[in-house]
């Protein structure tokens, strides 16, 4: 392997072992050529602009180093793991890379998994609600075994098909922790006085708080916490400027034997998000998509030449850029009855002039579609996207008359059966101009159906609380988060399985809480969806999973639980003129893909002639 210039001095002075000692015996070798990429040279800093300290997790997302990862074709491949074995989704055996080390040079072994499982997941102080749900199959904990320092095994009695995807998720379930580092915060291992002093210095209440704070892996706030990611944070918070440095012990190399990542440093600058487009346009970021919107494209494009960058348009991965979500659990009984009538939902969907919206707001570049999977997904069918998305106000009006909204007032607006005007307050989270504009246009369309709508944006949190309590009749939000799934992904978003599903949040809560809160599903189709979800969880073959997915998608399309407006909208991505290996066009989504993560930013590099 070739030594990285960044470390040359430290290696020379003996502060760091040489490259061959740092890499695992079997590093993960990426063959750039076969991936259609160019092998590069190390160096440079990736400047990115972020909003607040929470965005530190973007580096974890962009890095996308997981035990197993999805490749660009959404196939699961080992990454940190050297390999894994999966028997009927019940028994999982993981093989670590021999000689793999944490960023502080300490070996990464089975002990790190044991520490997590025994000392964190099963510790009632650190995990008051028990281990993460991904580690439970049918509510049961697995059997955890250490076969040897490089091999571990999880065993369940029933299938747990969600286990591996959850490890590869953008926000992964961490089932290992740097034990050697964290033991100093755990009274089981640490000296009492030593720990007491640490607790006092950190101004925390007890060891669990200290442990909790020091062990955040997803949001790398603690510069001392050893990591396996390509870059490690070097700036203690609070700060407005975080610098990440390359991990000398990172496990990936290119075909030439150069240790990845190519880019030495990440400089993350925090600030007001509204200013980010302007700052990007003045050349203050090297690769940026977050906090840039479609409307900024023109502005960014105009400064392309002057500041030597390119603006690419990637495709957003939502099931819908915006979808109306009639609340089937609305507290108002009259409204609930109407909202649950499929004809009403279909009528609203037919009443939206999607073409107009697409033309006015998205330059016709979006797809007029229901809230469903994208064509990029193997599960896509045209019929899902097209269901009730043609503009047919006459049919819409006919349907509305049928559902009992046939009476109108003097101004021609429809009345509810109890005589109230059928005004709909559509609530949204935060103040997003695009949302406002969409609703403005939808409002004009609905006015033709004799229904007036009002937009009420509120703080995201308050907004959700209102939905959860059933006060909201209809909301608008993004559609499916993961709109390019394969059958291996859990189809939970299609069934009432979570409180955060705004069309049926109380049913979702019922499911989530195991029946202790919320309301039981009392409509046949949603119940069927739930059954299908249950089937998927116990499924054992991909074929079976695919049929379940198909059925759930078609029920959702037919029942129009959420009224998608457009999807496939564009996400501008600004790339520095000298940065190589960044795809021209790709899918930009959190799940799957970790935004840039799936395209492996550790393979991006700066092509600077002079150097």
């Amino acid at each position: 392997a070739i030594e990285t210039p960044f470390f040359a001095e430290r290696v020379a002075t003996g502060k760091l072992p040489a490259i061959d000692q740092r890499l695992p015996e079997q590093p993960r070798v990426l063959d750039m050529q076969s991936m259609g990429r160019i092998p590069g040279k190390p160096g440079g800093t990736w400047r990115m602009l972020m909003g607040d300290q929470r965005d530190l997790r973007m580096v974890t997302l962009y890095s996308y180093a997981r035990l197993v990862v999805f490749d660009e074709k959404l196939q699961l491949v080992p990454d940190i793991l050297e390999s894994f074995e999966d028997q009927d989704d019940k028994v999982f055996t993981f093989h670590l890379r021999k000689g793999h080390k944490w960023s502080d040079g300490q070996p990464f072994t089975a002990e790190d998994f044991r520490y997590y499982w025994e000392d964190v997941a099963l510790n009632p102080k650190l995990s008051p609600t028990g281990p993460n749900v991904a580690l439970l199959a049918n509510g049961q904990k697995p059997k955890f075994e250490i076969i040897d320092p490089e091999t571990i095994r999880f065993t369940w009695d029933t299938p747990n098909p969600a286990f591996l995807p959850s490890l590869a998720a953008s926000q992964p379930v961490y089932i290992f922790m740097p034990a050697h580092y964290l033991k100093q915060f755990n009274p089981r291992y640490a000296g009492k006085d030593d720990l007491a002093k640490k607790i006092k210095d950190a101004h925390v209440k007890d060891w669990s708080a200290l442990h909790e704070r020091m062990s955040r892996q997803y949001r790398p706030e603690n510069p001392e916490l050893p990591t396996l990611e390509p870059w490690r944070n070097t700036t203690p918070p609070p700060a407005d400027f975080f610098v990440f440095e390359r991990n000398p012990f990172y496990h990936r190399v290119d075909e030439n034997g150069r240790q990845l990542p190519y880019i030495d440093k990440i400089a993350m600058m925090l600030g007001t998000t509204n200013l980010i487009p302007a700052k990007v346009a003045s050349g203050e970021a090297d690769l940026q998509a977050r906090y840039i919107n479609f409307e900024d494209y023109t502005f960014l494009k105009h400064a392309e030449q002057a500041n030597n960058y390119q603006v690419e348009l990637w495709q957003q991965g939502y099931g819908a850029r915006a979808a109306l979500m009639p609340n089937l659990n609305a507290a108002d009984p009259i409204w609930r009855k109407i909202l649950r009538d499929v004809r009403f939902r279909r009528a609203l969907s037919l009443g939206i002039n999607r073409r107009d919206i697409n033309r006015v707001l998205f330059f016709g570049l979006a797809r007029e579609s229901g809230n469903t999977v994208l064509p990029e997904s193997p599960l896509y069918k045209q019929s899902y996207a097209d269901a009730y998305t043609n503009y047919d106000p006459a049919e819409a009006n006919r349907l509305l008359d049928l559902v009992g909204l046939d009476k109108r007032d003097g101004e021609g607006f429809r009345l509810l059966p109890d005589g109230r005007r059928a005004d709909i307050v559509i609530e949204t989270a935060e103040n997003d101009t695009v949302d406002t504009d969409i609703l403005e246009l939808v409002g004009d369309d609905f006015a033709k159906l004799g229904i007036r709508i009002f937009n009420h944006p509120s703080q995201r949190d308050a907004f959700r609380q209102r939905i959860f309590s059933g006060q909201v009749i209809m909301s608008m939000a993004e559609g499916l988060d993961n709109a390019v799934p394969t059958e291996k992904f859990e189809p939970d978003a299609l069934a009432p399985s979570a409180e955060s599903q705004f069309q049926w949040s109380r049913w979702g809560l019922y499911f989530e809480s195991g029946g202790s809160q919320g309301e039981a599903v009392d409509m046949p189709e949603p119940q069927h969806l739930l059954d299908l979800l249950h089937d998927w969880r116990h499924s054992t073959s991909d074929a079976q999973r695919k049929t379940i997915w198909d059925e759930m998608l078609s029920i959702n399309a037919d029942q129009v639980y959420t009224i998608g407006i457009v999807n496939g909208t564009q996400q501008p991505v600004v790339v520095d003129g000298n940065m190589r290996n960044v795809p021209k066009s790709a899918l930009f989504s959190f799940e799957p893909g970790s935004f840039f993560g799936i395209y492996m930013p550790d393979t991006f590099w700066y092509d600077v002639k002079s150097e």
Partner: protein, 390 residues
């Protein structure tokens, strides 16, 4: 008329020989009677009339406020009429002459092309497409005063043409029309807010300054407390509790009241401080000894001595009230569409795109400036009119 006595000489005894009439007080003609017995208000009005800038300012304000009842008629379009083919169209210039020939007021039509490389709508003036502006014409239908259906406008675009004298916004709505509609909210919000804050500020500050003692003590503590709660958290908290079902109009009143309620403390303290010293004046004592009640002493004797400050602070508070809602919108508590106000329009103009690409969307700042300048000049005039020394 007497001569200067000789310098350093002995003074000669001088006696005037002019006729001397002790009853020289003349009778007044009715005209003089009118002038000399005019009320104080009339005097002020006469004085005000002489302040030319103030008169102009008040005329401008009168016109601006005069548009409020007739927005629908004055605006070429309805405030929410969208023209999807003319999104973000730059302003169309009004012309009178075409090829050196007089044609009357008209605009040239615009051709537009979607520029897919930078995703921009490019407009070019089409000199062949001459669109004569119609006056007192039929255009967008509206409900006049919410009652009478009508469709007459002062001016409308030519049939099939467009008339975006100040350009159009991102949904293709006419900026000029929206400005006309926006005046309704923006011009009133300031007045209502300021009335509330002045009422509170003057009364509480006045009583505290005049009475002193425990009232002063309590009111000062109240002011301290109101003052020490920064506006923003309160706004956020109110945003959280303000019922969502409130119509935009109610929200508007709510905001106005809040703006007013938050603003009085500074004034109250200034009034109090001034009155603390003014109340020691003899004329205050005189009024009290005449049996004048507190309101009278406060409003007839004490506050006039403070009128300059009051007028000044009123005229500088109005802009902050008009613009206050933009600050609120920033926190998600502002007015929302479909309500149109200058603040809402400016709020929509608050991004770099607009500054760099669509600067005409910032035009609503012009009426704001106009209103503020006129209010201030009006204030100057009022101040002078009330100033006895002038």
């Amino acid at each position: 008329m007497n001569a200067l006595p000789p310098s350093s000489g002995k003074l000669v005894h001088y006696v005037s020989d002019a006729p001397f009439d002790v009853q020289s007080v003349k009778r007044l003609t009715p005209e003089q009677e009118r002038v000399y017995l005019a009320s104080q208000w009339r005097l002020m009005w006469w004085k005000f009339k002489r302040h030319r800038l103030a008169v102009v300012a008040s005329l401008v304000l009168l016109v601006l406020y005069g548009t409020i009842p007739f927005s629908e008629f004055l605006a070429p379009y309805n405030g929410s009429t969208r023209n999807t083919d003319f999104i973000r169209s730059p302003p169309q210039k009004m012309h009178l002459f075409h090829d050196g020939q007089f044609v009357g007021p008209f605009v040239y039509g615009k051709d537009y092309r979607l520029n897919m490389t930078d995703l921009k709508r490019d407009y070019t003036v089409n000199h062949a497409n001459l669109q004569r502006i119609r006056f007192f014409c039929h255009g967008d239908p509206y409900q006049f005063w919410g009652l009478v259906p009508a469709d007459v406008h002062l001016m409308c675009p030519a049939d099939g043409g467009t008339l975006f004298l100040l350009g159009s916004d991102r949904l293709g709505r006419d900026v000029l029309s929206r400005m006309v509609y926006g005046a309704r909210i923006s011009l009133t919000v300031g007045l209502i807010g300021i009335s509330i804050s002045f009422l509170l500020g003057i009364t509480i500050g006045g009583l505290a300054g005049y009475y002193g003692g425990w009232f002063d003590l309590l009111s000062q503590r109240a002011i301290e407390i109101v003052h020490s709660i920064p506006h923003i958290p309160l706004w956020l908290a109110l945003a959280a509790v303000m019922p969502v079902t409130w119509s935009p109009m109610l929200v508007y009143f709510g905001i106005t009241v809040i703006l007013g309620l938050m603003d009085w403390t500074g004034l109250a303290r200034a009034v109090r401080a001034k009155l603390l010293s003014l109340r020691e004046e003899d004329y205050v004592l005189a009024a009290r000894l005449m049996g004048a009640g507190t309101p009278r002493v406060l409003f007839r004797h004490l506050l006039p001595g403070f009128i300059s400050h009051l007028i000044a602070s009123a005229t500088i508070t109005i802009p902050s009230m008009i613009l206050g809602e933009t600050a609120l919108s920033f926190l998600g508590l502002g007015l929302r569409p479909p309500v149109i106000s200058w603040g809402v329009m400016l709020n929509e103009a608050q991004n770099m795109n607009v500054v760099a690409l669509y600067p005409w969307l910032m035009l609503p700042v012009v009426p704001v400036i106009l209103v503020i300048l006129t209010f201030n000049f009006l204030g100057d005039g009022l101040r002078d009119a009330a100033d006895p020394y002038n």
